[in-house]
């Protein structure tokens, strides 16, 4: 029997482990399927991480190293090259690696920190052939940054989330020509700073309300046809345009990696694809916590680390004194607010609620009510789906309500 087992040794797993140790838990084990700690950050070699946590601009690997060093200093145990295959409601973990074979561990508490994966191109219905030269942006990032291999010379990118933008610059720096970044929506899902420093710096055109409608080429990609879309996001035939290219990168979103959570029957949210959690990041399964990208996709790793600290501390509390849940206040998002994390509150203490909106809104007002009267409101000059927002509710505000409604007045 172990006190705490953490699944995933990315920034979330490491930060949760450190927080749990600092809250007095000695017996902690991190299980990581990769050959090193750090998760996806090891391939995110660009800078821009850590401004919130450390007040300085770090690259992904440097950010990961700060935590890895701490994990080592605190003597927190971890197993690399170890893949978790199964978890159960009773917190029995089945894992495998080459030295121990398949083994089982029972834990008092588990923290899920498996991160996310990219939506696959199979999910995209683009007409035409399926030649070589089509990659997800994250796979291309791995090739270029960890193997020093450039997947192609003439590139079109579909999707303008941050990974797509970062890869547009990265491929350009390595000598490729990026002909266009196409975005179905009328706005980019990426950060404004990335549009500036990844596209504008290199005169890479961002084509909003455009998509790839056809793929050409037999063995190797030869080109793509792009077209403008109308308000219903249907391609307009007259705007079809052929762009010769040998590489198409797909950056069409990330989904939390929750295969394991499903096995333990943890309640998942249809909106985030992650677990439904309370303010402690406690899932519906007692003693199992979740944090980082496995819970909901974050744009900034700093927020991942912060969230993981909450999960680590809460798991420590749970191990020491069990669960004390006396009530459940659901948080309901009105649709313009797409989701919140946590989705429920089970204790009257100060709670910071993170949320995302579903469209770009200007001069909007966030209004939080108990169903009738306003509990808290805040004006916002600009809100965008790509940027996570947060708002803190005070213990007194929570104490007297049965439910909370998060609404956006525009």
């Amino acid at each position: 029997m172990r006190d705490l087992v953490i699944i995933g040794g990315g920034p979330a797993g490491m930060s949760a482990a450190i927080a749990a140790r600092e809250s007095g838990i000695q017996d902690i084990l991190i299980l990581e399927r990769d050959g090193q700690l750090g998760g996806i950050l090891q391939q995110c070699i660009h800078n821009g991480f850590g401004l919130h946590m450390f007040g300085e601009e770090l690259t992904g690997p440097e950010y990961a190293w700060k935590y890895e060093k701490k994990v080592n200093e605190l003597g927190i145990e971890y197993k690399l090259n170890t893949m978790v295959l199964d978890i159960t409601e009773d917190k029995i973990i089945t894992a495998t690696n080459s030295s121990d074979g398949v083994f089982q561990i029972k834990a008092k508490a588990i923290i899920l920190a498996m991160g996310c994966r990219e939506r696959s191109k199979g999910a995209l219905n683009i007409a035409g052939t399926r030649p070589a030269g089509i990659y997800s942006a994250g796979t291309a990032q791995k090739y270029v940054n960890t193997m020093g291999y450039l997947p192609g010379k003439n590139v079109v990118i579909l999707g303008s989330g941050d990974i797509g933008l970062i890869m547009a610059r990265r491929m350009t720096l390595e000598g490729a020509k990026v002909h266009a970044v196409c975005e179905l929506m009328s706005y980019s899902g990426g950060l404004a700073r990335n549009i500036e420093q990844c596209l504008n710096d290199f005169n890479i055109p961002l084509r909003l309300e455009h998509t790839v409608v056809e793929i050409h080429g037999k063995d190797r990609l030869e080109g793509v046809t792009v077209a403008r879309v109308d308000q219903n996001r249907k391609p307009i035939p007259e705007t079809r345009e052929y762009i010769p290219c040998d590489t198409l990168l797909l950056s069409v979103g990330l989904i939390p990696e929750n295969e394991l959570s499903k096995k333990a029957d943890i309640k998942l949210s249809g909106v985030t694809n992650g677990a439904v959690v309370d303010q402690d990041r406690h899932t519906s399964c007692e003693g199992i916590f979740a944090c980082g990208n496995v819970l909901h996709v974050h744009d900034l790793v700093d927020f991942v680390s912060k969230e993981a600290e909450i999960a680590g501390k809460s798991a420590a509390e749970y191990i020491k004194s069990g669960k004390k849940q006396s009530f459940v206040i659901p948080i309901k998002a009105d649709g313009k607010i797409r989701y919140s994390v946590p989705q429920i509150i089970t204790e009257a203490k100060d709670v910071t609620v993170y949320f995302r909106v579903s469209d770009v809104y200007k001069n909007a007002k966030i209004v939080i009510t108990d169903g009738n009267k306003t509990v808290l409101s805040k004006n916002k000059a600009k809100l965008a789906p790509g940027e996570m927002e947060k708002i803190t509710l005070k213990a007194e505000q929570i104490k007297s309500v049965k439910e909370l409604h998060f609404c956006l007045e525009v």
Binding site: I45, L173, R193, D201
Partner: protein, 116 residues
């Protein structure tokens, strides 16, 4: 007097800045949330700089991630990359090690550990 619109890239907030310029002199910066935005606008209009990140090939065929330890002039980015791409690094490498000295006014430092 001319006005120039910029997006501040110093932090993820990405404030939209409006800079009033007279003969390349910055008279006023608006739209910034903090002081760093003003400094950014000042530099961006006179001597734009960027931190460059890339990878250097190691002697064993692997790569190590690197960065310029100071931002370099924007127009020198590709010159800097040429030096980076023509270098092979000796192992082992510790994070923070200088891999190449003085390239376009900055050192190229490792951002990863690499053992032999």
């Amino acid at each position: 007097m001319i006005e120039r619109k910029l997006t501040c890239i110093v932090c993820p907030l990405g404030c939209e800045l409006t800079v009033t310029l007279e003969e390349n002199r910055v008279l006023e910066v608006r739209g910034n949330t903090c002081k760093r935005g003003e400094a950014y606008a000042q530099n961006e209009c006179t001597n734009p700089k960027r931190t460059v990140t890339s990878t250097v090939l190691c002697e064993d065929g692997c790569t190590v991630s690197v960065k310029t330890d100071e931002p370099i002039p924007k127009e020198k980015i590709f010159e800097c990359l040429e030096v980076i791409n023509s270098t092979t690094a000796r192992l082992p490498i510790k994070i923070g090690d200088v891999i190449i000295k003085n390239v376009c006014g900055s050192n190229i430092v490792a951002t990863q550990n690499r053992s032999k």
